[in-house]
Subunit: 331 residues, 2 copies
C-alpha cells in the first residue's frame, strides 16, 4: 500500500504541488474553482491523508500539545485531562499524555521528549517546585501553562483555584453548625496548594480562638494515606466532631476507617473533602466537599495555552477560579 502524497495528486490533476498544497490549506483565493474541485475530487478518490509530519517540519508547528500530570488514574487528573483533550480537539489539537508520579526527573525527561517532537505547548501539573523543568521550558521558548498546582515564579501562566478561600468557606460552615473540634488533614508538604489550604484552616480557626496544633495531621493526598492518618486521629485526638481532609481521595479513605470503627457520619463526625471529584457521589452518604470547577479549569488552561501558542495579545497571565462548598451527606 503505497502512501499517496501531494505530488501524486498534483501529477494526476496536472498542476504543481504548490497549487495542491494551497487548496488543502484554504489559501486558495487565487485558484480557479475548476482546478480546486478537480484536486479535491482526486484527493477523495485516492483517500488521501495529508502527512502532517512533513507539514510540521515545514511550518514548525505540530498542532499537538503535551499534558504532564502526576497520574491519570487519580480522578482529579483524569477529569482535568478530559477537559483539556476536549478543548484541544475542538481547536484542532492533539494531546500527548505523560504520567510523572510527581517525580521531578520524569518531568524533565518528558519535557525534552515533547520538545523534540515539536510540541506546540505544554500543560503542566507540577509535582514540586520543578525548577529545572520550568527553566528548560523557558529556555527553549515553549509556551506552557500550569494548572491546579501553583509555582512561585514570575512570568508564569496558569489557572488555579482560590484554595485559601475554599477552605475558609468549609471551616466556617462547620463552625456555624456548632462544630468546634475540627481536625484538619494537610496535603503533601512540598506543594504550594497544601500550604494555601492549611493556611485557610489555620487563620479561620485562630480567628475564633480554636486553633490547636493537635488537630492538624499530615496527609499525602492518597487513599491509603487517608486511611492511615484517620487511624492516627482516632487514636490520638480525644475529642473531634469533624474532619476536614484537604482532598476528596483522603476523605474516602478516612470515611471507610471511621465507619469500620463504628462512627456515624454525619451523626458522630462531619466530613468535608476538597475537589469534588466525580466519585464523591459514588459513596453513601455522598461527600460534602469544596468543589473545584475541574472541567472549567482544564478547559480554560487549554484555551489559554492555545492563545499563547498563537501569540495572541492581552492574554491574562493567571486565572483564578473560586471553589464552592457543596453540601451533601457527610456534613
Amino acid at each position: 500500500m503505497k502512501k499517496v502524497t501531494i505530488s501524486d495528486i498534483a501529477k494526476l490533476a496536472g498542476v504543481s504541488k504548490a497549487t495542491v498544497s494551497m487548496v488543502f490549506n484554504n489559501k486558495d483565493e487565487n485558484i480557479s474553482k475548476e482546478t480546486r474541485e478537480r484536486i479535491l475530487k482526486i484527493a477523495k478518490e485516492l483517500n488521501y491523508i495529508p502527512n502532517s509530519v512533513a507539514r510540521s517540519l515545514a511550518t514548525n508547528r505540530s498542532f499537538s500539545i503535551g499534558i504532564i500530570l502526576p497520574d491519570i488514574t487519580n480522578p482529579f487528573f483524569s477529569e482535568i485531562a478530559r477537559a483539556i483533550e476536549d478543548e484541544a480537539n475542538s481547536l484542532g489539537y492533539n494531546v500527548v499524555l505523560c504520567n510523572t508520579d510527581n517525580k521531578i526527573e520524569k518531568e524533565e525527561e518528558y519535557i525534552k521528549l515533547l520538545i523534540s517532537k515539536l510540541i506546540d505547548g505544554i500543560i503542566f501539573i507540577a509535582g514540586g517546585d520543578s525548577k529545572k523543568s520550568i527553566f528548560l521550558l523557558k529556555e527553549k521558548g515553549i509556551p506552557f501553562v500550569l494548572v491546579d498546582r501553583y509555582i512561585e515564579d514570575k512570568d508564569i501562566f496558569g489557572v488555579f483555584c482560590k484554595n485559601y478561600e475554599g477552605i475558609v468557606d468549609g471551616v466556617e460552615y462547620l463552625l456555624n453548625k456548632g462544630k468546634r473540634n475540627i481536625v484538619f488533614v494537610k496535603g503533601p508538604q512540598k506543594l504550594e496548594i497544601s500550604k494555601q489550604r492549611f493556611l485557610g484552616y489555620k487563620d479561620t480557626m485562630q480567628k475564633y480562638g480554636l486553633y490547636s496544633e493537635e488537630l492538624v495531621f499530615q496527609g499525602d493526598f492518597t487513599l491509603e494515606g487517608g486511611k492511615k492518618v484517620t487511624e492516627d486521629i482516632i487514636k490520638n485526638v480525644k475529642k473531634f466532631d469533624s474532619i476536614f481532609y484537604s482532598n476528596d481521595v483522603m476523605a474516602f479513605g478516612g470515611i471507610k476507617v471511621l465507619l469500620k470503627h463504628g462512627y456515624k457520619i454525619p451523626g458522630d463526625v462531619n466530613i468535608i473533602g476538597f475537589d469534588d471529584v466525580q466519585i464523591s457521589k459514588f459513596i453513601e452518604p455522598e461527600l460534602t466537599t469544596i468543589a473545584q470547577p475541574i472541567y472549567e479549569m482544564g478547559k480554560s488552561a487549554c484555551n489559554l495555552l492555545i492563545r499563547l501558542i498563537n501569540k495572541e495579545e492581552n492574554v491574562e497571565k493567571i486565572l483564578y477560579f473560586r471553589p464552592k462548598l457543596i453540601i451533601r451527606g457527610t456534613a
Copy 2:
C-alpha cells in the same frame, strides 16, 4: 533563541551531518572515539535536542502510538491508559490520548488524525462494531490492537478477558452461598462483552433451573444507569437476594440506592460487580467483584502493539486473561 541543529554541531565539530547523525543513532561503530566524544561534548554544551519530526519524516517512524478509548474519566479506562503509557514510555514511545464517548464518527476522525501524524500504531477500545474504523486502519496498514472490547473479525489482534468464565465463577459463588434469586444487570447491548457476560449468567442459571427473564435487566455501564436500574429492580422484582452488575460502576450506583432504601449489604442482598476498578476499595463495604487484571491487560496490549510495529515474528494474535473472583464485603 535559535534552535540548534545537527548542522550547527557538524560545523563546530568540523565533520559532516552524516557523522553527527550516526553518533546520535549509535550507528557509530565506524567513528573514531575522538570525534564521537567531540560531537557529544558540543551537543551537550549547546543543549541540543534532536528534532524528531525531521527524523520521523526521514524514517517514516514516529515513536508515538495512539490510544482511542471512550472516556478517560471512567476509572477502568484510566487504569488501562496508565498501564499503556507506562509500558510505551519504557519502550521509548509517546502516547496520544483520544476520547470518543463511544461515538463511531469520533473514532474515525481520530484515526485519520493519527494516521496523518504518522503514528506507528493504535490501541483501540471500540465503542461498537466500528467497522469503518477497522477498515480504515487495515487499508492504511496501521498496526492496531484491541483491548477489552472484542470485535468479531478475522485478522484482528487484541487482548481480552474471559468474560464468560468470570461471570460463571461469580454466579456459582452466589449459588454456593445458598442464593437463588440472583438478578443480573446487563451492559450496553451493542457490545460483544455485554453478550458474553450475560451468557455466562444465563447458562449457569439455566444449568440449575433458576433462570428467569424477570431477573434480567438492561444497564449501560454508568453510575446513573446503575442507580436507575436498581430502582426498577426494587420496584419490580418480588424476591431477590443478590444482584450481579456486569461492571463495577453500575454496582456503585446500585449500592447507593439499596442503602437508601434501607437494604443491608450483604445482609439483605449480596452484590457482585465486574472489573475491580480501584475505587472498589473506596466504598464501605468494599465491593466483591470479578477482577480483570487491568494493568496487565493494558501493558500486554501495548507490548503486543510494539511487537507488531517492529514486525516481529510469531506474535500471538489474541491474548486472553482469566478474571478472578475477589471476595470482599458485599457478597
